[in-house]
């Protein structure tokens, strides 16, 4: 009996604190968080600004990958939820004069849940390419809606996003970059960490296992009592809410929301980031988002043809490293460990 317990502890991470501090991953994670915390002090304003954008996208990517990596549904219109989140902040701060960021985030989630529940009810009836194209269609529908209904949405010029109050504090006297890479940076970092924690709980939960079952083999899952369509729908709604929070966090950074946010290339960016980082790993999409944002920044300043470079990279990933960066790192780490063992 005793040996049984020991062997299961080695293979399955145990919940206790003692087991947690013995694991290397925990320390790596803490080191990562510490880097993010210290960055505005040591890394310079521009780098912090880029990382700030990453936090927003990171939350959206976590949601996107719950649907893609864990449920097996590739959405090609997920920027739609990102946009709904961003427009919510714009509406609340600029039109309704409700400057509180917390209110913006909550409303963004509510709006996204309603939209996702409706669109999802239609879309989850389909899978694979049909699902992807249907989502693409909904994304582009939103795009034309935002362009055409000028009086509600500001048309192609979009709408401004006023500086939000954080935890009730009015910080409008600060210079823009100081605000963004100061208080706002830590605010978004906190939301990012909480969102990542919650998503980790979701994928480690009973529901998470059921979603993976739906992805791997819907027929078998159905016979094991999992209502496949309903579970896809749940995943879709959670995913939409996450993307909306991401959009809401990014909105004050860009300062103005416009319809290009929901253009299909922006949905494509989310797909690209996820593939780049690796969708089979929980942290993969985050890694992909971070690398993408820095690469884009670097390549854009050097070359006019940055899209060409990114296209070539995408082809390279799909052919050579389908597991993305995270997959490649895992492979190398495993090889290294095997060598060390031998």
């Amino acid at each position: 009996m005793k040996t049984d317990k020991l062997s299961s502890m080695g293979s399955e991470p145990n919940g206790s604190f003692a087991a947690l501090i013995r694991k290397r991953q925990t320390w790596l994670l803490l080191a990562g968080i510490l880097c993010f915390v210290l960055l505005p002090r040591v890394g310079g304003q521009y780098t912090s600004y880029l990382v700030l954008t990453f936090f927003g996208y990171g939350v959206a990517l976590l949601g996107f990958n719950l649907l893609f990596g864990y449920t097996g549904l590739l959405s090609f219109g997920h920027a739609l939820f990102f946009t709904s989140g961003a427009y919510t902040v714009s509406y609340l701060t600029a039109k309704f004069a409700i400057p509180y960021m917390e209110v913006s985030i909550v409303v963004a989630v509510v709006v996204a849940v309603v939209i996702a529940a409706l669109i999802g009810a239609i879309c989850v009836r389909y899978i694979k390419i049909y699902f992807a194209l249907l989502m693409l269609a909904f994304g582009m529908l939103t795009y034309s809606f935002l362009i055409k209904f000028y009086y509600i949405t500001g048309g192609d010029e979009g709408m401004p996003v006023l500086r939000p109050h954080l935890l009730g504090f009015d910080l409008s006297s600060m210079a823009k970059m100081d605000f963004l890479t100061g208080w706002y940076y830590y605010y978004v970092l906190t939301v990012f960490i909480i969102a990542t924690w919650i998503m980790w709980r979701i994928v480690s939960s009973h529901f998470g296992l059921a979603l993976r079952a739906v992805r791997d083999n819907p027929e078998k899952a159905y016979y094991l009592g999992i209502d496949v369509r309903r579970y896809r729908w749940y995943a879709f709604i959670i995913s939409g809410a996450y993307a909306a929070v991401g959009g809401a966090l990014v909105a004050p950074v860009i300062g103005n929301v416009d319809p290009t946010l929901t253009y299909w290339t922006h949905s494509g960016t989310l797909v690209f980031m996820t593939l780049l980082g690796g969708f089979t790993n929980f942290l993969g999409p985050l890694l992909g988002g971070l690398v993408y944002i820095f690469l884009q920044d670097g390549v854009m300043s050097l070359l006019h043809y940055w899209r060409f470079v990114f296209g070539a990279m995408l082809a390279f990933i799909v052919i050579v490293a389908p597991g993305g960066l995270a997959g490649a790192i895992e492979l190398i780490a495993n090889k290294y460990c095997a060598k060390k063992g031998a």
């Binding site: 299961s8 293979s11 399955e12 991470p13 145990n14 919940g15 919650i198 709980r201 979701i202 480690s204 939960s205 009973h206 529901f207 998470g208 296992l209 059921a210 993976r212 079952a213 791997d216 083999n217 027929e219 078998k220 899952a221 159905y222 016979y223 094991l224 009592g225 999992i226 209502d227 496949v228 579970y231 749940y234 959670i238």
Partner: protein, 259 residues
């Protein structure tokens, strides 16, 4: 009586598959459904498990009308199935696979903020099922890396983890070597005793297994029940034996019998 099929008709377009199938399954029975390819066995199972809605006729399970209600609801009522072809979640470990059945039965599938690994109820029950099926040593092996026989067992084990009253086994030993077949059947019988399964219905081609384990045999041919009797009676029923073994000239006898 725990399960009954009443006058089931099912056709795909103009192509009729089941032409009025009726039978009853009682508690404690081990029933085998046999028949040549194209007799409608798989369609029958799909109708019995509520996946397909028949064009006509009804299926009752413990006084519930389960015609076309779908496998997920049916699993909650107490009926589960395994599959003819290996039907697994390739990336799941053995334990995850069994846990999925367990958590589904416990109605915890939608718990999205509980850590599965800390759920003692699920883990203990999954452990029990793994031991019954002799899979406990392979707990962390990915399903796709298991040998064929174990894949089959795992498929069945996850269905048993639902603790059904009636289990439908669609060729539980197909694709498995002859020496392993009996071993798998013995584990299955042993498991159903330990887990309180009331009735087993199996579709099987291997006549040794059919005659060795069944209380009753239902022979299906061209979408109709050709014979419904004990193994001993079946051996005397030339026409049905003939249809099942499928020798030349049999078709005539069978067709004449059906008319």
């Amino acid at each position: 009586m725990i399960l009954s099929a009443n006058e089931i008709f099912k056709s795909y377009g103009d192509f009729g598959v089941l032409a009025g199938v009726s039978f009853q399954i009682h508690e404690g029975e081990f029933v085998s459904i046999i028949g040549p390819n194209g007799a409608g066995k798989t369609t029958l199972i799909n109708v019995l498990t509520g996946l397909l809605k028949p064009n006509n006729g009804k299926v009752f399970f413990k006084d519930h009308d389960i015609t076309g209600i779908g496998p997920a609801k049916l699993s909650r009522l107490g009926m589960a199935r395994s599959f003819q072809l290996v039907n697994i979640f390739p990336t799941f470990t053995v334990m995850e696979f069994i846990k999925l059945g367990v958590l589904s039965r416990q109605g915890k599938g939608a718990r999205f903020y509980a850590i599965l690994k800390r759920d003692r109820e699920v883990n203990e029950e999954a452990e029990e099922v793994a031991q019954i099926f002799h899979l406990e040593d392979k707990r962390d092996v990915q399903a796709k890396n298991l040998p064929q026989g174990d894949k089959k067992l795992l498929d069945v084990a996850s269905a048993f983890a639902l603790r059904p009253e009636v289990i439908l086994l669609d060729e539980p030993t197909s694709g498995v070597s002859t020496s392993e077949k009996n071993k798998i059947m013995e584990i299955l019988i042993d498991a159903s005793k330990k887990m309180g399964i009331k009735s087993i219905i199996q579709v099987e081609h291997d006549m040794d297994l059919v005659f060795g384990f069944s209380d009753r045999i239902i022979a299906l041919h061209s979408g109709k029940v050709l014979a419904d009797c004990t193994p001993a009676e079946m051996e005397k029923n030339e026409a049905a034996m003939c249809a099942v073994v499928g020798e030349k000239g049999c078709f005539k006898i069978c067709s004449s019998l059906l008319e």
